[in-house]
């Protein structure tokens, strides 16, 4: 039982990071119909930027805000310069473009920071542990879960109550009609990318914390988060959050309980297990939990 709780809490902490990443995908996809393969690089940028700022002596929480804003701004820049000219082209084309934008960003980040490993500084005790229901949980995990919860509530309010949130929902539902009603669709695109970028940065900061580290491979998180997006459904923010948490928990439970069953085949099996789950799941629900069913017309 204690092992189970332990795995559950670590899973939720990891899941909250997946949820942030997955939400970023969905926000961009909903507003601009772009599936952003460069998302992992935003996570990477956020993590490296944060470390440099904190080491440069900026107060932690201020550094976090600066990181989120800068990464968001980079996202906006990418949208404006590369993806705006691509509007109206097939999804496939934008996928390829974002893959290569990601490759370029990765090279740039390597050039600036180098690929060496580094730890993410935290204002609290980095390896501190607290006991919840008998399970030992890292402060870092608790912080990740709490921060994600706060951000998600903020997001909900933004989507439901704010002017730009309503604009985003309108754009998601029909771009041309939204444009006709006077919603600045271009600005909505930019804002969505800004949001997604800052979410990715936040995810990067928590992803880099102990027991994990920040290195040149941190962008791979985006590839691992794909199953969360697809299981939740491409168009659904709620689905992304549920998918993200589920993915984190399933992955860690698989590490604890499935890997040992499989012998040598089980080494690191938890890393591909989300994909196995996703493939099986999509066979029965091809549009995920809450994805929009495409209406087929000839």
């Amino acid at each position: 039982m204690q092992t189970f709780l332990q795995l559950l809490f670590s899973g939720l902490a990891l899941g909250s990071i997946y949820a942030l990443v997955a939400l970023g995908f969905v926000v961009i996809y909903r507003s601009s119909q772009v599936f952003n393969f460069a998302h992992g690089e935003f996570v990477m940028l956020g993590a490296f930027l944060m470390i440099s700022l904190v080491r440069g002596g900026v107060w932690w929480i201020v550094a976090l805000l600066i990181t989120m804003v800068v990464t968001g701004a980079v996202g906006m820049g990418v949208e404006r310069s590369v993806l705006r000219p691509m509007i109206g082209r097939p999804v496939f084309v934008t996928v390829i473009v974002t893959i290569f934008v990601g490759a370029l960003m990765r090279v740039a980040i390597n050039l600036i920071w180098g690929g060496t490993e580094r730890g993410m500084p935290t204002p609290w005790d980095n390896t501190g542990v607290m006991e919840i229901l008998g399970a030992r949980v890292l402060f870092n995990s608790v912080a990740a879960i709490v921060a994600t919860a706060v951000v998600l509530i903020g997001f909900y309010l933004l989507f439901q109550r704010s002017r730009i949130g309503v604009g985003m929902r309108a754009t998601a539902s029909d771009q041309e009609v939204a444009l006709g009603l006077g919603i600045p669709v271009g600005r909505v695109f930019g804002f969505s990318w800004f949001l997604a970028g800052s979410l990715a940065a936040l995810a990067g900061v928590f992803l880099g914390m102990f027991p994990r580290i920040v290195d040149g491979n941190i962008w791979l998180i985006a590839l691992v988060a794909f199953p969360a997006v697809l299981i939740g459904g491409l168009e659904s923010p709620l689905g992304a959050v549920i998918g993200g948490f589920a993915l984190g928990v399933v992955q860690l439970l698989a590490q604890g309980y499935v890997n040992p069953l499989l012998g040598t085949f089980g080494n690191n099996f938890h890393q591909v297990f989300p994909y196995v789950v996703m493939i099986g799941f999509l066979m029965f629900k091809p549009y995920g939990l809450f994805g929009t069913h495409e209406v087929e017309r000839v």
Binding site: I96, F100, V101, A103, N110, L111, L223, F226, L234, M278
Partner: protein
């Protein structure tokens, strides 16, 4: 200016090389390619062999993505299956290369057909991500059996002429005064494979199945309404594509002579093949060939030239290559969506209409 002769019989339409000029051009090209390995330096011989490997793989992806419109990020999985089949059959069992080729292709095609059911249910991004999952799964399986695949340390890929026989090696024969070295033999073997792949794809495109593929690509519901068997077409596309990818994987292994899982079965390789067909021109066989040539040659040039620039020389050669590819593909997608083939068509039409603009 030569024009295409008026087709008055069905046979005229069926001919691969419609005009005399085409035939002459093809003959010249064949001659040039045949002489190429005898005159090329060893660096350019290697590049030429690489091009042939990429041609076979790109033709495979072209059939799936270009003809049938199924986006696949899983090409690297099939490349890996082919490569490791060649490594294990050649290294462990001493099977000669001409038996390895069909084996690698068939094994890879079997896995490709297993993706078929997903392709029937999913489309677009969902399918792309599932095929990406295939890459991770294949990499995981390969890593799980280190006694066969060498695990993380990699495995060497021998290319044998005969059972337990000699590795393809320096023979005594000379052609045009050049001894027929192992590299040159490899080039000719790969050339035959590439030509077969290209001819096969060209003819496939003109066949009933090829037209069904195009219909599925343009709108699968409409195709189904018109009586095209969508399921069968998608299965054929996945099967043929992964067969060719498996063969390309075996060639890739023989060319590299050594495979590691991380360098073979990863997203980057899949993306490189997508880059090739985008640069070449999606939906045409010529595009796959042009793309492969441009990809290898330009990649080499970029590596050499960009290394001279101050900031970029700090990058590793792989990074330089990646960034060059990235910029090139972005430019093509924004400016010339039909790729090199599109540029070629524009040049051709310009001269056909010359001196008039239209």
């Amino acid at each position: 200016m030569p024009t295409k002769p008026l087709s008055v019989r069905y046979e005229d339409d069926l001919r691969l090389f419609a005009s005399r000029w085409r035939q002459a051009g093809t003959a010249l090209l064949v001659l040039a390619v045949l002489v190429y390995p005898l005159r090329a330096s060893s660096l350019w011989l290697t590049l030429g062999t690489e091009i042939l490997v990429f041609v076979v793989g790109a033709v495979g992806l072209m059939i799936l993505t270009g003809f049938t419109g199924q986006i696949s990020l899983g090409h690297a999985a099939f490349i890996g299956i082919g490569g490791y089949t060649a490594a294990i059959l050649g290294g462990e069992f001493g099977i000669p290369f001409w038996l390895v080729i069909p084996a690698a292709g068939l094994l890879s095609a079997a896995v490709g057909l297993a993706v078929g059911p997903f392709a029937l249910r999913l489309r677009g991004l969902y399918l792309a991500i599932v095929t990406l999952g295939l890459v991770f799964l294949v990499a995981h399986v390969l890593r799980s059996f280190p006694e066969w695949t060498g695990g993380l340390s990699g495995i060497s890929v021998p290319m044998l002429w005969w059972f337990d026989g000699p590795v393809v090696s320096a023979a005594q024969t000379e052609i045009l005064g050049t001894p027929l070295s192992a590299a040159i033999q490899k080039f000719y073997i790969f050339l035959v494979l590439a030509v077969i792949a290209v001819l096969f794809a060209t003819n496939l495109r003109r066949s009933h199945t090829g037209r069904a593929m195009a219909a599925v690509r343009d709108r699968d519901v409409a195709a189904a309404v018109m009586g095209v068997d969508v399921a069968r077409t998608k299965y054929v596309a996945f099967g043929v594509s992964s067969f060719l990818a498996g063969v390309a994987g075996a060639m890739f292994g023989w060319e590299a002579q050594f495979l590691t899982i991380d360098a073979t079965v990863n997203l980057i390789i899949s993306i490189e093949f997508i880059a090739i067909i985008v640069i070449g021109g999606i939906g045409t066989v010529v595009g796959a060939v042009l793309g492969a040539v441009a990809f290898v040659v330009l990649g080499q040039l970029a590596d050499a030239l960009l290394g001279e620039l101050p900031l970029l020389s700090e990058l590793s050669s792989a990074q330089r290559r990646t960034s060059f590819q990235a910029i090139l593909v972005a430019i093509f997608l924004i400016v010339e969506p039909f790729g090199l083939y599109g540029i070629w068509l524009r040049i051709k039409f310009y001269f056909m209409a010359w001196p008039f603009r239209y």
